[in-house]
Symmetry: C2
């Protein structure tokens, strides 16, 4: 009998590396380095650290990066200028700024076509509705918010997504507890995982909710069911995967309730899992920040690719329209429909 338990601890940097390879491949195929512009209007030191970190990661990986430090009262105008500036491919704003609902207003100022964080209403709506593409031809994927998407990409790398199953259903049969139900990460993450087929227990201080697509995944998107009287004591022993993102030093996942061999992921900046998690987990991910940044670059790349694709279609339409028969006009209408849906 060995004294150490078998638990594979995987660091964020290791997980980020593979994803980064794909992003670098994509960037090489473009004509020029995509430009990301960051807006810092906050005195929060964490925001500044994050800004520096994105800048460094961009430059190391073939992306352009500019940081604009703007007084928060000037931010709205600066964002509108960046929306209209053809040099700018992607925009990231370092929140919190006002720390209230005005921040949500500012999020919607950023043009969806430049929104690398995936916070535009159109993207968030698509995510909750399990609508994965922007266009009818299903060629342009919708953009997903970085941190929840980072968790999904990690679960893909850990082979929790089963590629034997069809795309969109690859978490069928998995039971996952997500601790924290914030609008920024917890709730979108629970929805994404349930839309991909998992049975998800979303746990917050107040209550437990179950997110699921129902028996045989018959529903097209998740539904939410209240679980009165459920607590972590009910959820954790049932869960293959436990994902925790509770801010604050005090909260610790009760390891004694975690199922033997579970996969445990921490997305809080605090340590939600005590080191004894290794006594129980088969895989433990202590932090995901490095993956989140790579996902941001991946979103930027996707946005640029979507734009190139749209402009190709527009050129095609103009060429056909120049001397069109009735048959060709039908094709033009078709193309216009696809282009409009993808870029509106």
């Amino acid at each position: 009998m060995s004294s150490n338990p078998h638990c594979k601890v995987v660091l964020g940097g290791t997980l980020a590396k593979k994803l980064l390879g794909e992003v670098q491949e994509g960037v090489k195929k473009l004509q020029r380095a995509p430009l990301l512009v960051g807006f810092l209007s906050s005195s929060d030191p964490a925001a500044r650290v994050y800004a520096e970190w994105t800048g460094r990661t961009c430059k190391e990986n073939g992306f352009g990066y500019e940081l604009q430090e703007v007084d928060r009262e000037e931010l709205e105008g600066a964002l509108i200028n960046a929306n209209n500036d053809d040099r700018v491919d992607g925009i990231i704003v370092y929140y919190p700024i006002f720390g209230n609902r005005q921040d949500q207003y500012l999020q919607q100022i950023v043009d969806a076509k430049k929104d690398v964080e995936g916070l535009s209403h159109q993207y968030i709506f698509n995510m909750y509705q399990n609508k994965r593409f922007l266009d009818e031809a299903q060629e342009q994927k919708s953009v997903l918010p970085c941190t929840p998407l980072a968790v999904c990409k990690i679960l893909e790398q850990l082979l929790i997504y089963n590629t034997i199953l069809p795309y969109g259903n690859r978490l069928h049969g998995r039971t996952i507890t997500v601790i924290n139900r914030s609008e920024v990460v917890g709730r979108p993450l629970a929805a994404l995982l349930a839309n991909d087929g998992a049975r998800v227990f979303s746990v917050d201080i107040e209550d437990v909710q179950e997110f699921t697509r129902g028996a045989g995944l018959r529903k097209r998107r998740h539904e939410v069911i209240e679980k009165p009287d459920w607590t972590l004591e009910t959820c954790l022993p049932l869960s293959d995967v436990v994902i925790s993102g509770v801010p604050g030093e005090k909260f610790k996942v009760p390891i004694e309730l975690v199922r033997e061999g579970a996969v445990c992921i921490n997305f809080s900046s605090e340590k939600n899992f005590d080191p004894s998690v290794k006594e129980k987990a088969s895989i433990y991910i202590p932090a995901i920040g490095k993956v989140t940044i790579v996902v941001l670059l991946r979103n930027l790349l996707r946005i640029v690719q979507n734009r190139i694709e749209s402009s190709k279609r527009a050129t095609e339409i103009k060429e056909i329209a120049a001397d069109a028969s009735p048959e060709q006009m039908a094709r033009i209408t078709e193309q216009l429909k696809r282009t409009t849906q993808a870029t509106s």
Copy 2:
């Protein structure tokens, strides 16, 4: 809402194909077609069908095959002749013959070095002990019984084995129910799965036993714990994978107890799962016979490869010994030790 549930039904033939590719690759690298000899001493029509089926599969895939029909009283002598016949690479006996303990005696007559079914005591002992190699250098793998190994190979293809985890622990975190605890399939299968890291409930008419390597997989091999008062009602709702091999038409797995999204595998020649299994399972495998035959050929290939490897070592030893210094004699002793362990 769609009316059909999402369940992927995978046929044995599809699963066999990939495994067959690997076997064909291996055969190409040999100097000659390995010869399998089958012994039929039974009037059981199922045994004859199986014999014909192995013959056909051998011939279609570059293996030689000879069928010897022998009176059951002559079988022991015929097996000894085949053991001593250098032309013969592998031996398969179609059971049942006497249908009692004499069949187990006959199983041990077959030379382990030609035992493609993995029924020799040495192999079975290694399997239960979680001893995976025949030699200290860990170059020659032990042979595993065909049907339990076929189930493992299927679980590998279905990505239930997580390749992120180290070899030997890849079922860590999986809960599996195996229904049937026969010495031929059910018990060895439960042991194999638990040795690979799963928590296994082995269910028989009499009782339920849990096979597990304990918390953090600290134990080197599985241990068996009686679960008094446990039944399928306790096991099935906890299980990611349900594997059933109950002979007889009457038995059906109670689908209402199966967990949403479970993986269901039938290894009985009867249909242990009602068609409604598709309402619950994410993946359903109705039969595994075709995979079992390919595993038999894989075992034959392994045995031939092991023999070639051993004879290479023997040649090496002779060359070194011809004109040996004290230092070289140390190497010879080392080589001899490895060779003896691999072939004894």
